[in-house]
């Protein structure tokens, strides 16, 4: 990667780190929320569903702004969390939070659809064999929705790699801390003659995201084969 400056390599590494952690940390929540939405009936279900989708609907800048208000140092959540030592403001963790939240609806959707495709009769069969709800989930539902989880995770990862508006609004663009690949691309695009550099970064993004996608196809197909058993 001789043709990448150190700042660009820094941005690339940061983007990978941010996207990786954004995906990994959101995943359990994503599975939980998807399961709750798919299989439980509870008051406030539609509110939860709406909330989850908000980042998709809102212009990213607005989401970023809301994050800033909520998780900023003086925000209602940001303050208390800071006392616990969890700081998002101007940290890569904040970029991961923004990316995770923006990717969350995609992840939940994918997982939820795959949960809804699991035949409850198989879960019932698990229960008759002595598995508690949680064990049924772990031994029947979870393995069967693995393709959906993989799909959802990669989708989320790809989205996180491309996230820009909410991230820069929330944690701004601090080289080495919060300057992700898209921020760098954006910066290059703002100035005349920045295109060459921007193109270079875009190509890198594409290569990474495509690799992730290909990997997910491959893994997903293998898992699906295992799950379908054919």
């Amino acid at each position: 990667m001789g043709w990448l400056g150190p700042a660009e390599i820094e941005a690339l590494r940061l983007s990978l780190r941010v996207s990786f952690w954004a995906t990994l940390v959101t995943l359990p929540f994503g599975i939980f929320v998807a399961y709750a939405l798919a299989r439980w009936r509870f008051p406030g279900r539609q509110v939860l569903n709406g909330l989850v989708h908000l980042p998709l609907i809102l212009p990213p800048v607005v989401t970023g702004y809301l994050l800033l208000l909520t998780f900023g140092i003086q925000g209602p959540l940001g303050g208390p969390l800071a006392e616990l030592g969890i700081v998002f403001a101007f940290r890569w963790t904040g970029a991961a939070l923004a990316a995770g939240i923006m990717a969350f609806p995609l992840m939940v959707r994918a997982i939820r659809l795959s949960i809804e495709a699991v035949d409850p009769k198989l879960e019932q069969a698990g229960a008759t064999l002595g598995a508690s709800r949680l064990m049924v989930f772990g031994t029947v539902t979870l393995p069967m929705i693995l393709p959906g989880i993989i799909a959802g995770s990669i989708l989320a990862f790809a989205k996180a790699m491309g996230e820009f508006g909410a991230t820069i609004t929330f944690v701004s663009n601090i080289p080495g801390q919060t300057q992700t690949l898209p921020s760098a691309v954006y910066a290059f695009l703002q100035v005349p003659a920045g295109e060459a550099a921007a193109t270079r970064l875009v190509i890198i993004s594409i290569v990474i995201a495509m690799s992730a996608l290909l990997l997910s196809e491959y893994v997903g197909r293998r898992v699906a084969k295992r799950v379908a058993g054919s």
């Binding site: 101007f90 820069i168 601090i174 300057q179 920045g194």
Partner: protein
């Protein structure tokens, strides 16, 4: 029929007001599309049907001029603007000069600015900091945003203690206080060039002329803009 104006987003409040006045007096319709200067320039390069462009960035105007996309004769420096250092609402004003205790005032926090290599406000701000001899000290503590308003928001929400933004932006934000205006000698002149595009009709010229009239200029001034010397 009607005039389509492409204008830098930061002009919105003033320009909406002025255009309304123009429509009232002339019964001619003015439509304004606000976006970042880079976006506007690229769109004109791609054949956008704009009649008049008001950019916040001379470089982009030069690009358009180099490609013969604007009527060179019509190009004017329509407006100027100033840079201010802002902080929390109750911050003591002070004079901005070489030797400013910026680091102390930051107190470990971040200085919010627009992208210092890409967005005009950031580029001007960086030049000012360099000329003030502060750049090397604060370089690592700058939180860059994709536009000036986002930098303003960082200060307004308390995420960043200080920021450098346009005077026109700072003026109406109650949650921030202006610490001081950065003397113009520390940065290149902030110019909003305007020009007719090569596809413009006669109506556009009339509006451009109106923008340079007293009524319009008074409104610009009221919004914190300045008039370029000469």
């Amino acid at each position: 029929e009607g005039v389509l104006v492409f204008a830098a987003a930061s002009l919105k409040t003033a320009l909406d007001e002025i255009a309304a006045g123009y429509e009232d007096t002339t019964r001619h319709e003015v439509t304004i599309s606000y976006a970042a200067s880079s976006v506007l320039a690229r769109q004109i390069q791609a054949g956008a049907p704009a009649d008049l462009i008001i950019s916040a960035n001379e470089d982009w105007m030069d690009v358009l001029q180099g490609e013969d996309l604007i009527e060179v004769a019509s190009r004017v420096d329509l407006l100027g603007n100033g840079l201010v250092l802002i902080g929390a609402q109750d911050t003591e004003p002070t004079e901005i000069a070489v030797g400013l205790d910026l680091i102390t005032r930051l107190n470990g926090g971040y200085l919010a600015m627009a992208l210092v290599d890409a967005v005009p406000a950031g580029i001007y701000g960086k030049a000012a900091l360099q000329n003030l001899g502060l750049w090397n000290d604060v370089e690592g503590q700058i939180a860059q945003t994709d536009n000036v308003r986002a930098a303003l928001a960082l200060v307004a929400t308390g995420a960043a203690p200080l920021g450098i933004v346009y005077r026109s932006d700072a003026i109406a934000e109650d949650r921030v206080g202006v610490i001081g205006t950065i003397p113009e000698k520390f940065h290149p002149a902030i110019i909003y060039p305007a020009a007719l595009t090569i596809s413009s009709g006669p109506e556009a010229l009339s509006f451009l002329t109106y923008l340079q009239g007293d009524e319009a200029q008074a409104e610009f001034l009221r919004q914190g803009f300045s008039l370029p010397e000469g």
